[in-house]
């Protein structure tokens, strides 16, 4: 009897060890106060409950996630091999790799790919560098430290739509705040919406504005987990604050930095709302010369403005493959870094 009770008190299957659960914890938990399991029906129900409950708890997540994320992922691949037009959704004819072929021979695709890369670069790099510096400052003993953090995070609460509408006005050709301020420094007004680099910079600045504070908080969390004695011994060795930052903080933050690089890269690959709204009426084209049309925008344009959903699916899968390559490169880099340590 005792042994069966013991078995009940232990989690049903111990095939794989769940992290964080000490193996001995279950054994010590049973006591004399355990119910007498004389009712066999109830006991069987109880045992069944123990076995089935974990699956019941994860089921809603996996069912909903599978139905609306994983299965569509596969269907997108299927549609990318078909000719699917928005105007006649029921007519789907096999196209083989035709959509991909047309994509790769399209100048607009390569233009969008290039823009995604350059906008991603000029939005991610300054954003993460600024976040790192900001986190370092927030890590000092500050008056009203929480208030500072909340203020730095307010742009995160602003939606893409609202933020982009405001920045579009700030960047307008005449009467815009940015050109007006530049004028004070003797700089000629920049055509932020038509020029090549100017518009890409403008779009990037919206991303930087919205996400710098967010990334700063992630760095701050990691900084606060660095053991203080590392700094003490660095100070004993005569390292000044800058040297401590370079030789203690940065190496300790390396995993977190890599993580934010990955997340920001994923975000940059999907960039959509900012260029769409920045373009106003011709938003899905990414400006008059497609100068800031990103892959995300290109997909929306091909799918829902031009109405070629098969091609849009091919663009989506191309984006996914790009992300997988980025993830693989990142994994390799992480391994390298770890080995070199």
């Amino acid at each position: 009897m005792t042994s069966s009770k013991q078995a009940l008190a232990r989690p049903a299957t111990s095939a794989d060890s769940a992290p964080g659960t000490p193996p001995g914890a279950a054994r010590g938990a049973h006591g004399p106060g355990a119910p007498a399991g004389d009712d066999s029906w109830r006991r069987r129900l109880y045992r069944w409950d123990m076995k089935a409950a974990p699956y019941a708890f994860v089921a809603p997540f996996f069912i909903l996630f599978g139905a609306f994320s994983l299965i569509p992922l596969l269907y997108t691949a299927w549609y990318s091999l078909h000719d699917v037009q928005l105007s006649s959704l029921d007519h789907q004819t096999w196209a083989g790799l035709g959509n991909y072929q047309r994509l790769l021979s399209s100048d607009f695709f390569w233009n969008a790919l290039k823009n995604t890369f350059t906008i991603g670069l000029i939005s991610t790099v300054p954003q993460l560098l600024a976040a790192l510096g900001l986190a370092h400052l927030l890590n000092y003993k500050l008056r009203g430290s929480t208030a500072w953090r909340v203020v730095m995070l307010t742009p995160y609460a602003t939606s893409v739509a609202a933020a982009t509408l405001v920045f579009t006005l700030l960047y307008s050709w005449d009467g815009g705040m940015v050109n007006w301020v530049l004028h004070f420094f003797g700089v000629d007004p920049v055509n932020w919406r038509e020029s090549d680099w100017g518009s890409q910079f403008a779009v990037s600045s919206i991303v930087i504005w919205r996400w710098t504070g967010y990334n700063a908080l992630i760095y701050l969390a990691a900084m606060q987990a660095i053991p203080a004695d590392l700094y003490e011994s660095a100070a004993i060795d005569g390292a000044n604050r800058w040297q401590q930052f370079r030789h203690v903080t940065i190496p300790q933050l390396r995993p977190t930095i890599l993580f934010t690089v990955v997340v920001s890269t994923i975000g940059a690959t999907q960039l959509f709302g900012e260029p769409l709204l920045f373009g106003g009426v011709s938003g899905s084209k990414g400006g008059s010369e497609h100068q800031y049309q990103t892959l995300g925008l290109y997909m929306y344009d091909q799918g829902w403005v031009i109405g070629n959903l098969g091609k849009a699916s091919a663009i989506a899968w191309t984006m996914f493959l790009l992300l997988l390559i980025i993830a693989a490169v990142n994994l390799l880099l992480t391994r390298r870094l770890r080995k070199s340590q």
Binding site: A18, A25, P60, S69, L153, A225, V263, A312
Partner: protein
């Protein structure tokens, strides 16, 4: 996957209490330079929002003039009224509240259940399933929109709110977030004790897991609400201007052919206001939640 390796050791699993003891820069007091630089950062963070309000209180013509207005004018309520009417913000706000509210409740509930199972229960393939969950955080939403659009059209659900709600009812992020929290915050002995007393799994969830998870549930709820309120790509594809969320309405307002900039700014202000108020009330919790979760939703 990479994501797990990168986050598990540092930000996510560290107990808040332990952090304070070792907090590196904490011992160093900030000098005046720090405050000056932080003030600049704060101004850059807040200025566009304040200026939105200034622009919303002016006329379209005044906004086109140089220099741009730096202080409030007298047109605020007229513009707010115009934006409210033109963009149909009444409907849009109600829709956004319904959409974001439903998504938040569902995400928090299912994330807690799944997170609890992953944190404290043993079952076959749990490690593999957790890895799958973490791995799928990388899948961009673009990968799903074409099939979802076709299915929702087939069902005759175009332009209806369930179209927007259904695909966002759960997130891999939420599940992972709750798992990370419960691993630390929920003593295994507590569950075992309840089990020994003969409590069913549902009773354990109700009387042990939910109370222990409450702080994290609140934070996840806030993060999810912000995310759902600001979601853009799928709503803009799935909904039209007759039945928009706030973001869809703002997009329509911004891409109108005869734009009145002051009215657009008033719309942007109205669309952001609910979240700004939430931020004033719960800013501290949201900040804490991001520092703990340290992953983009």
């Amino acid at each position: 996957m990479t994501t797990s390796e990168l986050t598990l050791p540092k930000a996510a699993t560290e107990k808040p209490g332990r952090r304070r003891a070792t907090g590196a820069g904490k011992q160093l007091h900030a000098g005046p330079v720090t405050y000056v630089v932080l003030t600049v950062f704060a101004l850059v963070s807040l200025a566009p929002l304040v200026w939105t309000a200034i622009a919303a209180s002016r006329t379209d013509r005044r906004l086109a003039e140089t220099p741009p207005p730096l202080w409030f004018g007298g047109n605020l309520f007229k513009n707010l009224q115009a934006a409210w009417d033109q963009a149909g913000l009444g409907t849009a706000m109600l829709n956004s509240v319904i959409v974001a509210g439903t998504i938040t409740v569902s995400t928090v509930l299912f994330s807690t259940l799944a997170g609890f199972a992953f944190a404290k229960l043993r079952f076959r393939f749990s490690g593999l399933l957790l890895l799958l969950t973490i791995g799928t955080m990388m899948i961009p939403p673009q990968l799903a929109v074409v099939p979802l659009y076709l299915w929702m059209s087939d069902l005759g659900w175009s332009n209806q709110l369930q179209t927007v709600i259904l695909p966002s009812l759960v997130t891999a992020f939420g599940t992972f977030f709750m798992r990370q929290y419960l691993v630390q915050a929920l003593p295994t002995e507590l569950i075992e004790a309840a089990r020994v007393d003969g409590a069913s799994s549902l009773r354990v969830v109700w009387h042990v897991v939910f109370p222990a998870a409450r702080p994290a549930m609140a934070v996840l709820g806030l993060l999810t609400f912000v995310f759902a309120w600001n979601d853009f790509l799928w709503p803009i594809i799935a909904l039209n201007q007759q039945n928009p969320t706030v973001q869809v309405a703002l997009n329509a307002l911004g891409t109108g052919y005869v734009p009145d900039q002051a009215v657009i700014m008033a719309g942007a202000l109205l669309g952001t206001l609910p979240l700004l108020i939430a931020f004033l009330l719960f800013g501290k919790q949201i900040v804490g939640g991001i520092m703990q979760g340290a992953i983009k939703g």
